[in-house]
């Protein structure tokens, strides 16, 4: 594993083609852009024209959603080869994927599905992360999931599971603070102990996004990770809490559904940038 993840410690946004002209017109749009790897695996056409133009001027994070690292089956070698070709071509500052599975028996299920946390699944995910890092010749970041259910067979707390993967593979972690809040609410556990035990020294990127509020079978709150609205006040508070401990870390605003106009998305990124700058000032004053 040669290249470590090295996004700038500033704020970025998920790139949406609808914003392309606004981004080109801005002198300093944001600190970096993130794209979903699977949207850039066609042979050619406008997606590559736009991403090449973006890449010339900006730091880039490639974020996979389809590798199914949390599956107990073999990784899809064709997909891994496509990821390698994409990373070789665009040389992103970072590549990340999820602690989740999405393919089974040859079908792609198009969602980030949960897995039980046991010594056996841990060993399998470690093998997969090793395999990805070897294939790509770079460090990858693994993201904590948003979950709606749990498995009776789980014996390892999620934070310990992620910590152990990072320790054994040398991968970095992508801390999705919205996912922390969503999962904590859904499982009626407090988010702060999760963050207090999370290996923050391994965090190379943070995700912030919006969620929807629904209720479960007995009327308890059930939060859905939708990335279709502004970031909630509770998630901003947790973000400030984390940044006070980590200092400035690359932070992404994820807004994938009901995508707002560029000024609205830019303003959301500016709010995160303000938190980062405050942390930098207080750490340099200390």
């Amino acid at each position: 594993m040669s290249r470590a993840s090295h996004l700038p410690a500033s704020t970025g946004v998920g790139f949406k083609p609808a914003h392309f002209d606004d981004i080109r017109a801005a002198s300093q749009p944001v600190g970096f852009f993130e794209v979903h790897a699977e949207n850039y695996m066609g042979a050619g056409g406008p997606p590559h024209v736009q991403l090449s133009a973006l890449r010339e001027r900006h730091a880039l994070s490639v974020h996979g959603v389809g590798l199914s690292i949390g599956s107990m089956q073999q990784l899809d070698q064709a997909h891994l080869a496509r990821l390698r070709a994409l990373c070789d071509h665009y040389e992103p500052e970072s590549f990340s994927e999820h602690l989740a599975w999405s393919s089974h028996g040859g079908a792609y299920l198009n969602d980030l599905l949960p897995l039980p946390y046991t010594p056996r699944t841990l060993a399998r995910v470690v093998e997969h992360v090793d395999e990805v890092q070897t294939a790509l010749g770079r460090q990858m970041l693994l993201e904590n999931p948003a979950t709606y259910i749990r498995f009776a067979e789980s014996t390892i707390p999620e934070v310990d599971f992620l910590t152990e993967i990072a320790k054994r593979t040398g991968c970095g972690l992508l801390l999705d603070i919205n996912n922390v809040f969503v999962s904590a609410t859904n499982h009626d556990t407090p988010p702060l102990p999760y963050l207090d035990t999370f290996p923050l020294d391994r965090v190379r990127e943070i995700h912030l996004g919006g969620h929807d509020e629904e209720t479960d079978d007995v009327g308890a709150p059930l939060l859905i990770d939708t990335h279709g609205s502004p970031i909630s006040a509770a998630v901003w508070a947790l973000y400030t809490y984390v940044i006070a401990r980590t200092g400035a870390v690359a932070t992404l605003i994820e807004w994938d559904n009901d995508v707002p106009d560029w000024p609205t998305l830019r303003a959301e990124a500016a709010k995160a940038q303000h938190v980062l700058c405050t942390a930098s000032r207080s750490s340099s004053a200390a």
Partner: protein, 261 residues
């Protein structure tokens, strides 16, 4: 068994009649149906959304409600085989053709084939088309033996219905109006540069381009086109081929020079 949780989970995702798999728990209830439904909904709604973005004209023609119902049935019967969702729905036109509730819209499957072809053209490999100047320099004596590899984005959809007109009227490319001249239309879909173009081919044009794409020479392709339609006009089709940027290269017969001496 390492795969147990995935297999039962995946099976229950695509079949809403199945019970929630064993071993799935929540802090406050024995059977977390609504929680598991979040995953079911994410999977199916996400696939319906992918189909909606690839087949917007089909949705306009049949309406959002009918489209969603049809897409849900397709998605659960034929989930994607790859994480590349841009290619999801290549088999949707064939599904529509056999989908009984849509049978009173006989042109629907062909319009879907046109829309599927547009996405493939959009993501196809890039290549610089051969310019008109290179065709102008060709030696007239060898022109019948020349072969022309097609631009990788080239797609042809033949139909007995006016699919290009129907597509154009329902995509906003053309004003909606009664179609006076209800006739067969063959569609040419290509993206020689940035934007995907959709055109109606002249008589015999589809047979001509399909023959060229299969590696036949100009002469062979022209014969195939004439056999397909007596009104085939070689000059007009050549001008269309060059003007639309469909030729990726010009290949002379062996040991012959392309240009006039």
């Amino acid at each position: 068994m390492l795969v147990t949780f995935e297999t039962s989970f995946a099976d229950a995702l695509l079949d809403a009649d199945r019970p929630i798999p064993d071993g799935i728990i929540a802090h406050n209830t024995a059977i977390p149906a609504r929680r598991f439904a979040v995953y079911r909904n994410n999977v199916v709604a996400g696939l319906v959304k992918a189909l909606r973005s690839r087949f917007p004209v089909i949705e306009t023609i049949v309406g959002a409600e009918f489209f969603a119902a049809m897409a849900r049935i397709f998605a659960t019967a034929q989930p994607p085989r790859s994480p590349l969702l841009a290619s999801y729905g290549d088999t949707f036109p064939a599904f529509i053709a056999a989908f009984e509730p849509a049978s009173d819209v006989p042109y629907l499957a062909d319009v879907a084939r046109l829309e599927a072809a547009r996405t493939r053209a959009y993501h196809a490999a890039d290549a610089a088309p051969v310019g008109a100047d290179r065709f102008a320099m060709l030696d007239g004596k060898i022109i019948a033996d020349i072969r022309v590899p097609m631009h990788p984005s080239t797609e042809i959809v033949r139909s007995q219905f006016p699919i290009v007109t129907i597509w154009a009227m329902n995509s906003g490319e053309q004003a909606l109006a009664p179609i006076e001249d209800w006739r067969a239309e063959d569609a040419l879909i290509a993206r020689p540069h940035f934007d995907v173009q959709v055109r109606t081919l002249p008589p015999g044009g589809a047979a001509f381009l399909l023959a060229l794409a299969a590696g036949q020479s100009f002469g062979e392709a022209a014969a195939a086109a004439l056999a397909d339609h007596p009104d085939f006009d070689l000059t007009c089709n050549l001008a269309g081929l060059i003007g639309s940027g469909l030729a990726r290269d010009i290949i002379a017969p062996e040991s012959r020079s392309l240009s006039q001496p």
